[in-house]
Symmetry: C2
Subunit: 189 residues, 2 copies
DNA sequence: AAGTGACCGAAATACCATTTCGGTCTGCTA
DNA sequence: TAGCAGACCGAAATGGTATTTCGGTCACTT
């Protein structure tokens, strides 16, 4: 395998296991079986390497989300499935988990920036779906960016935050019921 | 003025200016013109004193919010006015500002607990209004706690969080438009 | 030409001496 | 003698500094 790929794999492994701060360039080099200087042939610094890994993860996340959509299903059904998949990825994928944890405990700036740009990318992804829905005549014209924001934040609140102050998680039915009645119903043509 | 009141005023002043961690019992005693031991005659410890002050603030916040509601106005209008008032209080009231800041930077556990219980109280307040709306036949029956949660979180996201990733704040019109079309419209009879 | 790892200095960490502060308690004052 | 004050205590926080860590470079090897 080519050296760049080796380094990417090693970095992904290390960032996933130890987070940003605790992965050292020495460690990445060691895992990749490569001299430390070699890393700097392909990546100009630690942050750029990190960005490459994060970007790769975001692409994978979007692909996974995309794959959950079904051909004949309604807009809400697919939107719901896609967003739930995004949230599931978020709390399942090792690297993502580690980054959220590091942001909470360590406040590493590079990690904060990464999470911000990930959310931005997710919102762009959702907004794109909404625009396509509008173009296909399934949805009323609307401010796709604003709706994407409200929708994603609502999901985040209902799926992740509710259970922080209540004993049991909301069921998927409760979530679909409340959102179909509110945000989705206002979108549909 | 009685000594308990003096102490409360001194504590409120100090917590507002310096936050929880940086207000010392010595300082409170000094401001109140009272010996430190005297504080312990009225409050069993620093946390209890803090709770008293926070509780007083929450009561005031609810009162202020209550006062913005108009007699003849529709449910949405009053709900909107009340919640906007809550959010305004949140970013206007010295003590509240200080607590949010301290939670973000210092992570003082007592402050985190206080903010959690404040939010809980706000949600109870909103849920109560929804229940009254249902009882008066203005709103459809619904899970008031869940709706209160979604509504308040939506406001928080639109008013406070949107501007963190975008250049300009949302206008009040944009906010009412989007929420009247979604959450509120599903509530109304 | 491509790759390596010893090396550099800024920044983080660990360590410990010193200070701070919540809470107690004895003695003072009215 | 009841209510109040502030000196006092020890656990915890803080500050200063000796030491280590780590991102990035570069002279050397293959």
């Amino acid at each position: 395998m080519d050296r760049r790929e080796e380094i990417m794999l090693a970095a992904e492994k290390s960032f996933s296991m130890f987070g940003y701060k605790a992965t050292t360039m020495d460690r990445v080099a060691k895992i990749a079986n490569v001299g430390k200087g070699t890393i700097y042939t392909f990546f100009s610094n630690k942050e750029e390497l990190f960005h490459s890994i994060v970007w790769k993860m975001v692409e994978e996340m979007k692909n996974v989300s995309e794959r959950t959509a079904k051909e004949g299903a309604s807009f809400q059904e697919n939107a719901h499935a896609r967003i739930m998949q995004l949230l599931k990825f978020r709390e399942t994928h090792q690297l993502f988990i580690k980054l959220i944890e590091e942001e909470k405990e360590l406040r590493t700036p590079a990690v904060g920036d990464a999470l911000t740009s990930i959310e931005k990318e997710i919102l762009k992804f959702i907004a794109g779906k909404i625009e396509r829905g509008v173009a296909k005549g399934e949805l009323k014209p609307c401010d796709s960016e604003l709706i994407a924001f409200l929708l994603f934040r609502s999901y985040l609140a209902l799926v992740n935050d509710w259970s922080k102050t209540h004993d049991e998680q909301l069921t998927e039915k409760q979530i679909t019921d409340i959102l179909n009645g509110t945000i989705f119903s206002s979108l549909l043509v």
